[in-house]
Symmetry: D2
Subunit: 338 residues, 4 copies
């Protein structure tokens, strides 16, 4: 049984709390820390499991010798320093994505891990989704031959506020970063070059905040394949999350999930349900599964499925994408300094 | 918080144990009883929740004043006597289907409930499945107008042994009974007449045991609609579970669920995944949801969604179906004695 | 080159005129006869092919030695006498379905053919439709093993007038007759017994005219399979024409055709197009193809794909269906006198 | 009735011959010219319509005062000079795509049209395909709001020979040119900039001939939308022809067409048919329809749906795409000289 402490009791902290309690064998949440911990949050936590301890001070978790692993669900700017601190405290670390927007900060985590023996996993949960996993499995099984073209459609149901994008690092670092990871996952290799065609079509405020809200991103992969991601901050029909890999031997593609398969035929047409609304609805199972794999890696002393380098690479891709927009040209990943 | 005792730790008992632990708020399993309780079963139970008490004697559950509700997951022949005994002990009862094959035995449960104040729910879980619920919702919302034709396809992936059908009551009582309930659910009324065209096409042994393995069952409904069920004991592509309701204003229909939406296109065609294999894969969420509703009915002192009469009616339909096969004619439900 | 005369220039006569001109090689329409031939009809014919002769008297066609084959598209009550007359005139005959509602009249056609050497084909066009043909091909190729359950959904977009059903022979003889043929085609054998559950749910006037408008028809087939047809006179979403064959080795099923594959996703759902409206839209290619096969049989002196017995059998099934409704019991095909 | 002469009796010339005969009212093919006209070709033509005159000399068509319109189906290098010659002879011209690879040659056609009064149409047939037309109709009807992202998937079933690509102008001018037209059609405006990520993954010989066989092409549109085309010379599952338009109000997308809707479920999965093999199978109806519109424009003296500028623009896009590959950067359409 692995004892776990969770740092951060916001939306994603609650997702992992619920995921572990309802679906992760061999893990027990001992403590949840949040600087804004209040009665409501504590009550929610205790309705899930009355034995969980709550605190405002994450240092209690790091100091607790009974806690084996820490799940970092705090705000993005604290991911890398908390990672370093937890690693130095000898805790295994599951860190939500992105580790940081600053390459130097991620390097500090890399350095801390070199001097340590703990497990480190970064939270690109979509790899554990049933649909994307099925695509990967088909590719690995050779069912589509050598990949030639990898296509990701990733569109959110609602745009964030302009205030958010001003601090999030922008669309490429807060949203596309998942798609960059997916491209690496499905191609089975890294990207070498990025080109972005982007626009502000959803919310002018996002443009005024210095970001874009619509983009088509083309990538050259190490194995020769071409990848293309299309993003929008607003799909009125809901969360659009699809992948297609085309290769020398065929193609594998996914559709969206919906609440049911019911289809109504009437005078207006033949109508099925919209995609599941957003990531909490669409990806709950994948949050549980990534945690199962993290706990499994600790128990069996194996590599985590997504190490610190898997946390770094999509950030490099995101920074290259931003540079491509600024300089209106294809940008090599190698141009992004480390 | 509702304290629960489970009688029977076989396959369906384990399903409910897992379902309650991972998905039913406000319920706590206190004790699980099974005459064949052994170390393996106890170990499995304790890996789920170490605080659950285990016993070979269900009477401990009925005598336990801290236990509010009993979930009957024992063999079919014990459903009705255990129901009566639990009701008399003042416990709320969730009873797996069917209550009994013998109408008189079900009447004893009905009589016991008349003298009592407990909640009673019977386990027709499919009503709580996302797909069938979406069909019902569409009908209730008037999206297809008045129902004219109700179609249920229900085919198992593998036939049971001839030995099983000899004691199960036969296909109409062990398998079609779910479809009879579904027809009532979707039509919103009872059937008045049943006609069966059946055959032994899957396994001659089933025929030798006095049963059929393939059938098309036509039903006349109180509201004038016609229902038709097609059953097979063996679909090589997996569990085939679909519904279609056609009416004056349109049609609503469901497809099967599968593990993912991935589709592979290659020289052989365009191939998606098979349906989920069988009821444990297909209906796990519905088992959790029916239990949530049972616990909710206790907490809020409301009617359960499926009372004892909902347990009786499909048995009457199953007995009428058997009579239709024997006498090779349409049989009115009213011909089945009560 | 086969010279053809068409008797009847109503809707189906025009369909065959257009079909032959645009898609049947080796056939030339020489003359079209219709007792109500007028300037408009003649103008329409000549816009298609200015060399076609028009007449009010079908006997001109039968007397024309240059004409090899006659296509009978006149009203149903004239099908059998015109068939006999054409056969005796030594013409090959393509006769629209049904040959007659009166078995004795069909026997006269059978007798005439015995003394003759001409080809005779009856117009069950759906066998030549791309979807139904693909189902048949899958069955014949053994891809679903031995057929166990055959399901036909056949629903019209609009009901006929009560006046029409009073003379058409009723739903089983004017509409279901196509489905009876399809069941024989897909099963590869004859039906032995029919049971009908029917209702008047679409138009009370149809009931007052002595007919039904909604039905589920169960059939026992010679090879042990069970077939089931569901019919409605009115599907608000358009012409619903589907087939499914389930067997020991799998299942083959078709969807409806629509004008395009375009699907619109918006806030209301994910909506595709309705089925093609009615038989002219849905089956135009099959009308052309059945005629190609008829002309081919003449040219190559081979059997037609659908002989006079294939015209008789669905009428027997339709008469058995009517008897089943009247007597509220399963009716053996052998009960229908010949 | 419009009298037509066809220049070129190769594959596409035969397509138009058949299309006109079987589906274009008000047009009559008077003469077909081909420098390689032989007995076989003449026999094929006469089997379609015995009254068509055949010749080796296209000048007979241009000199024939009874001929109103010329359909140019000859080799690509002759499209522009024949267009000019036919225009000067006062004939309406339907010219297969592309008009030319040389912008100056297309300008000569533009100049000839300025001094003339004839209709000119270029053969981008896909605009008349049922699926692409449905997408366009949905966009025009406002069903998806303002277009933001336009996606075209266009993959051939088999690569051409390296010898072919050496003279065809390469993939962007012989294959993608259709997709460039489609992007303009669906966006309702021109592209301003093109960026190409391309590779040689299908056939090294194509690379040695100086061309690519796999590409993702990103385009910036005048209305702010982003378009992306993905191309491959070889999809083992057949001709992959899909479009998707995503906008402020929703999305419209098409699937491929196949021969039937039949789906087989068995132990291997749930398998539908492959897409129709190639353009003759997929687009036959669109070839007929573009010709109907051309004849209609002549009869009604209206604009053709695709004028000479619609022939020019995709060539500019193709040349910009080639320059993008050569110079590894986004290229403005305005950089391509006129």
């Amino acid at each position: 049984m692995v004892n776990v402490g969770i740092i951060g009791a916001g939306r994603i902290g609650k997702v992992h709390t619920q995921g572990i309690i309802t679906g992760v064998r061999n893990a027990k949440i001992k403590t949840i820390a949040d600087p804004f911990m209040n009665d409501d949050t504590a009550a929610w936590i205790h309705s899930m499991d009355s034995s969980i301890e709550v605190t405002k001070d994450y240092k209690e978790i790091l100091a607790d010798e009974e806690i084996d692993a820490v799940i970092i669900c705090s705000s993005t700017d604290t991911h890398s320093p908390l990672s370093v601190e937890a690693i130095k405290a000898g805790k295994h670390v599951f860190c939500e994505k992105p580790i940081d927007h600053d390459i130097d900060k991620i390097k500090e985590v890399i350095d801390a891990l070199k001097e340590s023996n703990v497990k480190y996993q970064v939270g690109f949960n979509r790899r554990f989704d049933h649909n994307f996993k099925a695509v990967k499995d088909a590719v690995v099984a050779g069912k589509i031959g050598d990949p030639h073209i990898i296509k990701i459609t990733s569109r959110d149901p609602e745009p964030p506020s302009p205030a958010y994008v001003a601090v999030s690092g922008g669309m490429f670092l807060d949203m596309t970063i998942h798609d960059f990871d997916m491209v690496r996952f499905l191609a089975g290799c890294d990207a070498t070059e990025v080109y972005v065609q982007s626009a502000v079509l959803v919310d002018k405020g996002i443009g005024e905040a210095g970001d874009v809200d619509t983009a088509v991103i083309t990538l050259k992969m190490e194995n020769g394949a071409i990848a293309v991601i299309d993003n929008s901050r607003k799909a009125v029909y809901g969360y659009d999350q699809r992948a297609e890999v085309f290769g020398s031997g065929g193609m594998v593609a996914t559709r969206n999930d919906s609440l049911s398969t019911a289809v109504i035929s009437n005078a207006d047409g033949v109508t099925g349900e919209k995609p599941l609304y957003f990531f909490l609805e669409r990806y709950m199972d994948s949050f549980r599964e990534e945690m199962n794999q993290f706990i499994g890696a600790i128990e069996n002393d194996t590599d985590t499925p997504l190490g610190v380098m898997d946390g770094l690479k999509p950030v490099l891709m995101g920074l290259a994408a931003k540079k491509s927009v600024e300089e209106h040209r294809p940008v090599a990943i190698s141009e992004i300094m480390m």
